[in-house]
């Protein structure tokens, strides 16, 4: 069964459209590795304002690391702004169960006390296991449980694919 996936670049534009005018002028964009990080890098050009960009690695805060095992890789959490009192937009590529976002929120609070956290996602595929909803969403779609939606980057072009989970 081939699922009709939207074009990633077009969806990014749609997401940015929804953020424009709604997002705080000085909101920081913090992307969750790796798909969210790519998106967070692209957003300042598409959303007017003074938006510092940070990246967050949630490996150490996930609740499933015991079964998934620790993945190596030197993706360090980097937040080049003062977290205390900040307005932060967490950026992720695909919102599914909500666990990565939960982990990212917990990690942000280990860095300080943000004034406000919002969530921007490229794709919301439903299937939530936690009460977490995106503030800004590029597109909504449904796929079978055993499939996963993956964002990839080829040079500078973003691309969406469906893979077996």
């Amino acid at each position: 069964m081939t699922t009709q996936l939207p074009d990633a670049e077009a969806t990014l534009v749609a997401l940015a459209e929804r953020m424009r005018g709604a997002v705080a002028y000085e909101a920081a964009f913090v992307g969750i590795y790796s798909g969210g990080a790519w998106l967070a890098e692209r957003l300042p050009a598409l959303v007017p304002g003074d938006h510092p960009v940070g990246f967050i690695d949630v490996s150490f805060y996930r609740d499933d690391y015991a079964t998934a095992g620790l993945k190596g890789g030197s993706r360090r959490t980097s937040l080049p702004f003062n977290v205390d009192g900040a307005t932060i937009v967490l950026v992720d590529d695909v919102l599914f169960t909500g666990r990565s976002v939960r982990a990212a929120i917990n990690e942000l609070f280990d860095f300080g006390r943000p004034a406000r956290i919002e969530l921007a996602v490229l794709i919301d595929r439903g299937g939530r296991e936690l009460p977490i909803e995106p503030t800004y969403c590029g597109a909504r779609l449904t796929v079978a449980q055993d499939l996963s939606i993956v964002l990839s980057r080829d040079d500078d072009r973003l691309k969406l694919d469906v893979q077996k989970a």
Binding site: D57, Y61, Y65, L70, G72, R76, D110, F111
Partner: protein, 320 residues
């Protein structure tokens, strides 16, 4: 005999020695340690990885330094830490080692960090736990006799990789009491496994283990010869007990021939780094100008040591 450190799926479940660990397992540990370094630079130096887990520091041989770094590492992973300083004498009078372990397992220990004066003690514990089918309890060797100090070996490898990037074109010299050194043995295994082409050991014949060449090293008794062209110089600690008895006549004579001074260091490469597992005996194995000089990376070793121990504990605790 299957490597007791790896479980049936090839995942690291205990860390007992670097000997026999596949290169990619070692590299995996070093890679996992990377992000942990930055946690030490944060305001809140904690991640919840080992929350709810109990780490028991079982030190049968005293060591405030090593025990403290393991404690810090475990606490940064949000684990509960219990310190047990059991002098060697109390075990011989009372409980056997394995009885002590059984009791602590009954208290829901998840990780044992063990330092013991007898080579092979952590292996005995790991085999005992395996025999009882307790696959959720893990052992980290914090130093056993003169056999191994794998976390020290790993942090030394991490340090070398940090400054020198690639092991494949390095000349590394290890200087001092190799005979009694578990630090030296672990580092030699780690370096040879990661493909270091030339590993040298430098010291008197009385301080060299027999057949040490079989471990893949070149032996030098002349320190100047041995330091020539080195990229990394690792100085080992010389314990004062070695000066009594027949191994060495005096600290002075040792320092003259095997102590690291500026002029001896000049024989190594101009960008060579100087390492030491600590604590240092200034004026015995190393002089102050070198220890405090710009080529010494001894303090970074300590920082990396915490990150490496965090990596090891989180990896073994999550072994699937």
């Amino acid at each position: 005999m299957r490597n007791p450190q790896l479980n049936a799926n090839g995942a690291l479940t205990h860390l007992l020695t670097l000997e026999g660990l596949p290169a990619d397992v070692i590299r995996n540990i070093l890679d996992t340690a990377d992000p942990f370094v930055s946690i030490g630079e944060r305001e809140v130096k904690k991640v919840p990885l080992l929350r709810g887990k109990a780490v028991f520091n079982l030190f049968f041989e005293n060591s405030t330094r090593t025990r403290t770094t393991f404690e810090i590492a475990a606490k940064r992973l949000s684990a509960d830490v219990i310190n047990l300083n059991i002098g060697a004498s109390s075990t011989s009078k009372g409980e056997t080692l394995l009885d002590t372990i059984d009791n602590l397992v009954a208290m829901d220990a998840d990780i044992f960090v063990v330092r013991h004066s007898q080579s092979g003690a952590p292996h005995l514990i790991a085999q005992h736990l395996c025999g009882q089918g307790r696959s959720h309890v893990h052992v980290v060797n914090a130093g056993d006799g003169r056999h191994a100090h794998p976390t020290q070996g790993l942090l030394d490898l991490y340090t070398i990789r940090h400054y020198k990037k690639d092991f494949h074109n390095l000349t590394v010299a290890i200087v001092g009491d190799v005979l009694h050194s578990r630090v030296a043995r672990s580092l030699i295994h780690g370096l040879t496994t990661l493909g270091t082409p030339e590993v040298r050991v430098i010291g008197t014949r009385t301080l060299m283990p027999s057949h040490v060449e079989a471990m893949g090293v070149r032996v030098f008794t002349d320190m100047r010869e041995g330091l020539r062209g080195c990229d990394v110089v690792v100085m080992l600690r010389l314990q004062s007990e070695r000066m009594k008895g027949a191994l060495l006549p005096s600290a002075g004579e040792f320092f003259k021939n095997y102590g690291l001074t500026q002029d001896k260091l000049a024989l190594a490469k101009p960008d060579a780094i100087v390492m030491h597992p600590g604590p240092m005996n200034r004026g015995v194995e190393i002089d102050s100008p070198v220890a405090d000089g710009e080529r010494a990376v001894i303090l970074p070793q300590v920082t990396f040591g915490i990150a490496v121990r965090m990596a090891v504990m989180s990896m073994i605790a999550s072994a699937a």
